[in-house]
């Protein structure tokens, strides 16, 4: 009842502030009048009496202000009070506050930067109109050799048939494919990531040009520049619209510029310019490179239900491009900026790094909690007094929590600053062969994440010290002396410190595993010599160069490059090894009991094995005798030989891959696609017998890479001015990039681990110092009773050692539970590698014991007479 009344009064007061003011004025006046009368009755002169009455009443304004305060809803006014209190507290202990904020900033910054990356790569929607209305259109196909959803890409003519037939489902259906274009510039041709698209591409995406207009027809000879490329190449000059550009030997007009922030439909892949498909490719070639993917806008949600059935009907009506292919059905899948199959591994990897960053935050937070605990203990008398005065425990806890939360939120803000810096660095990441553009700038979601984890950790780690502070027995605390420090209190701190050691252990073991895995990966024998080889790709296909002329160009280029000074060998191959790219086919034996399997392959010229230093264990490599028209030949590796003809001599055997080939040589096993692979079957075919328009030049030379690349460019320009040398670089560097995830993980988690270790050691040092300080009197007594200094030191050290070993064991146990997940990234290193576990554990325990050694020495300095007399 009274509660209701109170609430009603509060409500009234909120609504009727004006009334309250009037009422206060009247009451004040009444009071002063009464007092004046009383003063007069006591014999003062009326004027004096009134002045005196005002004096006795005190500052009218102050009282009015105090009344106003009571009218504010209580929670709000208390919150304001807590905030004031906190601000004062933080200012008063600046060193502590700064350190705590810095520690939280580090942890939050690391976690948040990684979250921004995940946000940019995985969560953010495409910057187009209503991205949730966009669906990819895919086909389920049954081909000659394999079955499955391989219809993500189809010939453009098939897309044209779809576009006409599917108007009932889509508001618009677009097609696109990615292609490296050669742009003619003053210094020869320069490669640029482009996209060939249908004319309606931009209208389906619902974009607005930043300058000029978009192309609309499939065969319009105009291009759209990306905002990024426009800025970089033309410094944002609007006059670029209408100017000609030369791509792959054709001339286009710049129609317009895409809006800022739109880099294409695949996250992190920055398209430089968009070209109408039919303007660039007159007739579809069956070679997969020119096939397109389809996506469409479904504005009518109701159409979604029957869409797959209707599209499948269309799909089966359109005749497939090859006799042996049948299209079974078509279906929609929500369009995503992340290629299917990449989401899980990328998410997992970033998630792992994020977890490591969060562990640093937890370790740091444990330090801060320990400090807050120490302060709570130091303040117990004051808290007891306040409790005795009638302050509610809940109110006190809230006040203490406000402080820790504000501390952490400040750290969160610092963390956001660090994350901004880190994402600035992420934006500058460049990878060979892929024009990367990751805009990981923190957005609202990231800010909310940062403040969220900061606030949550603040509450989590502030709660224990706050509860500790108010969990007191009044009488005993008011009388408290030094002896009642309490072992329970120490235990709370020790648990924090033990957890710190455990987390640091987990981080360092993970980092250690990556380092050892990397070492192992780098020392693996790939079966060829990458050192001294420079690579660069030349693609003749988009230039409309036919096989006959293409062969002449390729041969001429290699001949010229071989004669360059410093070059010892040069060769062409369809794929560069260990760059993550591969091409594979089904092969089988021709014998009646035919064995069939899928094998990766490479099409190479006669100089390849010598250039790469690949050892042939039997037979021979390709010669100029293995020309087109001559019997088809193949070189296979030991692994493929063992699979096709186990226990028999493969030389002279015949394998079938479409046509029949004679095996003329066996190459030693190596690594082909990436260093982490299991032994992969591999086969080589002769370039003279298989023309490939896109070949990678492999040049073995002494001398600086940059000069070699320049010389190669010069020769290429002489051979064909419009063809660009795509992504030239030392092969070893390219391979190094394939180790990027491991390097990143080793570097980042290692750095996190070291920060964690430092924080944990500070924790150990702190808790041991505190213990020693608390027990000085006890040590004094022990020494007075005849204990030697070393006994006391041993006593203290025993605690520190137990703490370190306990923490290390807990950390090792956690590591055993989680490092299994890393198996696929460690080049065969066991995720329970005893050397890593042992070395990390040993180091950690040694460092932790050293950290407790310093305070333990302090116990030696105890002077029994002094310590007994103190307090």
């Amino acid at each position: 009842m009274s509660l209701l009344k109170g609430a009603a009064a509060r409500l009234r007061s909120l609504l009727g502030r004006r009334d309250a003011e009037l009422r206060a004025n009247e009451e004040f006046r009444f009071h002063v009048d009464m007092q004046t009368e009383k003063n007069i009755a006591r014999g003062m002169a009326p004027a004096d009496a009134r002045r005196h009455a005002f004096l006795q009443f005190g500052g009218v304004d102050r009282h009015r202000e105090a009344i106003r305060d009571t009218q504010r809803p209580r929670v709000l006014s208390e919150l304001a009070q807590d905030a004031r209190f906190t601000a004062r507290a933080l200012r008063q202990n600046r060193a502590f506050s700064l350190t705590a904020v810095l520690i939280v900033s580090l942890g939050v910054g690391a976690t948040t930067a990684l979250f921004s990356l995940a946000n940019a790569l995985l969560f953010r929607e495409l910057p187009v109109e209503s991205p949730d209305e966009l669906y990819g259109l895919q086909e389920m196909r049954r081909g000659a050799s394999s079955i499955g959803p391989e219809g993500r890409r189809i010939p453009f003519s098939r897309y044209e048939a779809y576009r006409e037939a599917s108007a009932g489902v889509f508001t618009g259906l677009a097609a696109h494919t990615f292609l490296t274009l050669s742009v003619r510039a003053d210094e020869g041709a320069v490669p640029l990531q482009g996209a060939l698209t249908s004319g309606n591409y931009f209208s389906v995406l619902g974009l607005r040009p930043a300058a000029g207009r978009f192309f609309v027809d499939d065969d319009e000879p105009s291009v759209v520049l990306s905002h990024r490329y426009w800025q970089r190449q033309f410094h944002g000059d609007p006059a670029v619209v209408g100017r000609p550009v030369h791509l792959d030997g054709k001339t286009y007009t710049v129609a317009g510029v895409a809006p800022r922030g739109f880099d294409g439909t695949v996250v992190a892949l920055a398209i430089g310019l968009w070209v109408p498909y039919r303007a660039h490719v007159a007739t579809d070639s069956i070679a997969g490179a020119s096939w397109v993917g389809m996506f469409g806008r479904v504005s009518n949600r109701a159409a979604l239900g029957s869409a797959d059935a209707r599209l499948s009907a269309i799909a089966t009506r359109i005749p497939p491009e090859a006799q042996e292919t049948t299209v079974e059905r078509a279906y929609l899948a929500p369009m995503s900026g992340v290629p299917e199959g990449l989401r899980a591994p990328v998410g997992g990897f970033i998630g792992m790094l994020m977890a490591a960053g969060f562990l640093v935050l937890l370790i740091g937070a444990a330090n801060i909690a320990a400090l807050l605990l120490a302060r709570a203990v130091a303040r117990r008398r004051e808290v007891a007094l306040r409790l005795a005065l009638g302050a509610g425990r809940g109110r006190l806890v809230r006040q203490l929590l406000t402080e820790s939360t504000v501390l952490f939120l400040l750290g969160g803000i610092g963390g956001i600053g660090l994350a901004y810096i880190a994402t600035g660095l992420i934006a500058r990441i460049s990878l060979p062969g892929v024009p990367v553009a990751i805009d990981a700038t923190p957005d609202l979601r990231v800010l909310a994440f940062a403040l969220g984890i900061a606030g949550l950790t603040g509450i989590m780690f502030g709660l224990a010290p706050a509860l500790r502070a108010v969990r007191l027995e009044l009488a005993s605390s008011l009388k408290d002396g030094a002896f009642s420090g309490g072992t329970a209190r120490m235990r709370g701190r020790s648990i924090f410190v033990g957890a710190q050691i455990a987390f640091a252990m987990l981080l360092l073991i993970t980092a250690g595993l990556f380092v050892r895995g990397l070492q192992r990966g780098l020392s693996l024998d790939p079966g060829f010599r990458a050192d001294g080889v420079t690579i660069g790709t030349i693609n003749l296909e988009p230039h409309g160069i036919e096989e006959e002329q293409g062969r002449v160009l390729q041969t001429e280029l290699v001949r010229r490059v071989r004669s360059l000074p410093g070059v010892t060998a040069a060769s062409l191959a369809s794929t560069a090894l260990l760059t993550g790219s591969s091409h594979s086919n089904d092969v089988r034996t021709v014998a009646p009991d035919s064995v069939s399997l899928t094998s990766s392959l490479n099409i190479v010229d006669t100089a390849y094995f010598r250039t790469m230093g690949i050892e042939l264990v039997a037979g021979r490599g390709f010669t100029s005798a293995d020309a087109s028209g001559a019997p088809l030949v193949a070189v296979i590796n030991e692994a493929l030989a063992a699979r096709l003809w186990p226990g028999r001599d493969p030389l002279g055997m015949r394998l079938r891959r479409g046509q029949e080939y004679e095996v003329i040589g066996v190459a030693r096993n190596g690594k082909y696609v990436d260093l982490n692979e299991e032994q992969r079957p591999f086969m080589f075919f002769a370039a003279d017998q298989h023309y490939a328009p896109a070949m990678t030049l492999h040049v073995r030379a002494g001398g600086p890479d940059a000069r070699i690349v320049e010389s190669i460019r010069g020769e290429l320009r002489a051979v064909h001015p419009d063809v660009a040398l795509e992504f030239p670089m030392p092969l070893a560097r390219m391979i190094g990039f394939s180790l990027l995830p491991q390097r990143l993980a080793a570097g980042l988690i290692g750095a996190f681990g070291i920060v964690g270790l430092v924080l944990a050691v500070a924790g150990v040092y702190g808790v041991m110092s505190y213990q020693v300080a608390q027990r000085m009197r006890e040590f004094g007594i022990r020494i007075a009773l005849g204990a030697r200094g070393t006994d006391v030191v041993r006593l203290v050290l025993r605690g520190g050692v137990a703490l370190s070993i306990g923490g290390a064991i807990a950390g090792a146990a956690m590591a055993v539970a989680v490092t299994r997940l890393l198996t696929g990234m460690l080049f065969g290193l066991s995720p329970l590698d005893p050397l890593t576990f042992g070395a990390v554990g040993g180091t950690l325990i040694a460092v932790a014991v050293m950290a407790s050694w310093v305070p333990a020495r302090r116990a030696l300095r105890v002077d029994p007479t002094v310590s007994l007399r103190s307090e």
Binding site: H63, D69, K479
Partner: protein
């Protein structure tokens, strides 16, 4: 890490309480005295102040005006209520009186005050 705490000039690393801690103590006292005064019947602000001064024989000669925020606060808590009335000298005055909750609160406050006084006594006698 703990050197951060140890090196402070102030032996108590925790900040001093804000000034209104003292006010807190006083506030508790005033609340108690107001409730006690109103036990005898409704009274206006000036009358309450006079009565407190009388009972305490002038020891608690507080700033008279600070009574009003206290009254307001107690009214918000629902332990007292107020209405306009006519004073002995025939003027309009705001009269305060205890609610049933106020009667109960008086008991509890008295108890807590005695506990506090005892605690302070213990501190003073042990230090």
């Amino acid at each position: 890490m703990y050197f951060l705490l140890e090196s402070r000039r102030d032996p108590h690393p925790w900040p001093k309480m804000p000034p209104n801690t003292q006010a807190d103590a006083l506030r508790g006292t005033i609340d108690l005295l107001v409730l006690k005064t109103l036990m005898t019947g409704p009274q206006h602000g000036w009358g309450i102040g006079e009565r407190i001064q009388q009972i305490s024989s002038g020891v608690l000669d507080v700033n008279q005006g600070s009574l009003y925020p206290a009254l307001q606060r107690l009214e918000h808590k629902g332990v007292i209520e107020s209405e306009w009335g006519v004073s002995a000298n025939n003027r309009r005055a705001r009269y305060y009186r205890l609610t049933p909750a106020g009667h109960r609160a008086l008991g509890a406050e008295t108890e807590s005050w005695r506990r506090f006084a005892a605690a302070v006594e213990t501190v003073l006698s042990s230090a």
